[in-house]
């Protein structure tokens, strides 16, 4: 019973507070205010909350109220059932994937010690061990095949877009749905292959284990983050991730200059808002995936649960008990910061780059990213076979 309650609390905090908070705040601050700043504008400032514009934040509430009050239109010849269910199919995968993202290491009931090279334990790297029991408090689900799960769920959102495109009974929607499914499936291939190299090095599909391994220090000073050991894969993954979220410069599925709004053409009211929110939630989710796989997840370099370790020295401020809690807070803050930074970067990309032509998107996906990721995989395998 207690476990159920804890799970519910985790779901509430992670999905509703963090993801929805960040994703919906991004609709506003990221997409409007940031673009305004980049283009030397002020951005939305007219909606006020008791006379305070609060950096334009009340626009989010105003938008919500407006969307709820709008008429919900289903086109006459549309498939009513599929047309209604499609926004949920787009939206759900973006939220379910969060169940495997760890916001912190498991909580250790005993004391944590970091094994360092040269202390007689025979360990080459910096690994944290717990003499008590690991308790999973900081991710909704602890899964051995977490990465696979996240990818499988992320791939499901193709169905939502395709169904939305087909069920609307509009040519623009159909084109948008086709484009989005073709684009997402092509980029998923290079995404998965670029990840394979990282998986070969980590040797695990468990996301929390992957993050724990990124706390290792190579040669006592270089953090073993995914971006350090697999820079090419990081780049490919980031690019494919951008394409996965169907946002500029890869926003062809809804290229408004060509096909109105793509597969969301026929949507109105809150269903439209769901489609939009799903896009933002997917952006945040991709940022989280990149963070845990390539940017060290909750790890902060040289900061461990039992003290700060730089150049062989150990410094534990405030004693071990207090420091453990401080490290927990720091690490949650670190992963949040990393995710937000990546989201910011994706928005910057959106407002920097012009849109690709559709054939260019396909060329980039199949002729450049895919061979590069296969080459990266091959070289990684070769190096691992020779020196590991």
């Amino acid at each position: 019973m207690v476990e159920v309650l804890i799970s519910l609390a985790k779901i509430t905090v992670i999905v509703f507070v963090f993801v929805m908070g960040v994703a919906s705040a991004m609709t506003l601050l990221g997409d409007r205010k940031q673009s305004a700043k980049i283009q030397n504008r002020i951005g939305p400032s007219q909606a006020t909350f008791f006379g305070f514009s609060l950096f334009g934040f009340p626009h989010f509430i105003a938008d919500g109220i407006k969307m709820v009050l709008k008429e919900n239109i289903t086109p006459k010849n549309a498939n009513k059932f599929l047309h209604t269910i499609a926004p949920a199919l787009v939206f759900m995968p973006a939220l379910i994937g969060w169940s495997v993202i760890p916001f912190m290491d498991h909580y250790c009931t005993g004391s944590v010690t970091t094994l360092v090279p040269g202390d007689g334990s025979g360990v080459q790297h910096y690994t944290e061990v717990c003499d008590g029991e690991w308790k999973n408090y900081f991710s909704i689900m602890h899964m051995n095949a977490g990465v696979l799960f996240a990818f499988a769920i992320a791939a499901v959102s193709v169905y939502g877009a395709a169904i939305a495109g087909w069920a609307s009974n509009s040519k623009f929607s159909l084109l948008g749905g086709l484009r989005s499914s073709a684009q997402m499936i092509s980029y998923e291939v290079s995404m998965g292959l670029s990840l394979a190299g990282v998986l070969m090095i980590y040797g695990t599909l468990n996301i929390n284990e992957m993050v724990r391994m990124q706390g290792h220090l190579i040669g006592d000073w270089l953090p073993m983050w995914g971006i350090v050991i697999q820079p090419v894969a990081f780049f490919l993954f980031m690019l494919a991730g951008l394409a996965e979220t169907k946002r500029a410069p890869f926003d062809l599925p809804e290229g408004e200059s060509e096909i109105v709004a793509g597969y969301i053409t026929e949507y109105s009211s809150m269903k439209f808002a769901m489609m939009q929110l799903a896009e933002y939630a997917a952006t945040v989710f991709i940022a989280a995936l990149i963070t845990v796989v390539f940017l060290g997840g909750w790890q902060i370099p040289y900061v461990y649960a039992d003290g700060i370790r730089i150049f062989g020295g150990v410094w534990t401020p405030f004693g071990e008990e207090v420091w453990y809690w401080i490290s927990i807070v720091l690490r949650i803050g670190a992963i949040t910061f990393k995710i937000l930074f990546l989201v910011w970067l994706q928005f910057m990309m959106r407002w920097t780059l012009p849109r690709f032509r559709y054939d260019q998107v396909m060329t980039l996906g199949w002729k450049i990213l895919l061979p590069l990721s296969i080459a990266n995989l091959f070289v990684t395998a070769l190096i691992l076979a020779i020196i590991w």
Binding site: Q34, K37, I38, Q39, N40, R41, I42, S45, F235, M348, M349, W351, T352, L353
Partner: protein
């Protein structure tokens, strides 16, 4: 046939540097990031935001902005206009209506008894100001023509236009004392 002038334009050859996109993307990102952070500066003076909160903040017009008309005054407060009809003649929108009357002062031949400008018809071309021989009508109030809900309020009569007006630096009719001597 076949006599089309074809001008060959050399394509700009992209090197590997440009073709790899990455350095160019980084360059573009640096530009947008620079704008982004510059406009986040807490010191509002240093931001480069060009938009204005228009209804809350007044718009700044240039000195040469053509706004509402005004009729200039003589030194004794009478209207400068001598009802020569130049402005109403040149007005392409035909929005100036003048009825001349004889002035008591023999040095001033005529004055406008009725001077009405229909601001709704006015196309703000400024030709009346150009045509006026004695600097009697100007459009330099710096106030744009407001929207009207009642058509009759758009007719600006002489007294209203004179309220907007002021003294002119120009001397009307020349300096007579110099001419006599």
């Amino acid at each position: 046939m076949g006599n089309v002038n074809v001008k060959k334009v050399d394509r700009i050859q992209q090197g590997l540097w440009e073709k790899s996109y990455i350095p160019e993307i980084l360059r573009g990102l640096s530009v947008t990031a620079r704008h982004f952070f510059r406009n986040l500066n807490p010191n509002k003076e240093k931001r480069t935001i060009f938009t204005r909160d228009y209804p809350e903040e007044p718009t700044v017009y240039s000195d040469r902005y053509r706004g509402l008309h005004r009729l200039m005054l003589r030194e004794d407060g009478q209207v400068r206009c001598v009802a020569c009809m130049c402005c109403s003649t040149i007005c392409p929108a035909d929005c100036i209506h003048i009825e001349a009357a004889e002035h008591d002062d023999p040095t001033i031949e005529k004055y406008p008894d009725v001077f009405v400008i229909d601001e709704l018809r006015c196309i703000v071309c400024g030709l009346c100001v150009e045509a006026c021989p004695c600097d009697a009508i100007r459009m330099d109030t710096g106030v744009h023509i407001p929207p009207y809900t009642e058509r009759s309020t758009a007719f600006y009569d002489r007294d209203h236009l004179m309220e907007l007006g002021g003294l002119s630096q120009a001397k009307q009719g020349g300096d007579r004392s110099v001419a006599k001597s």
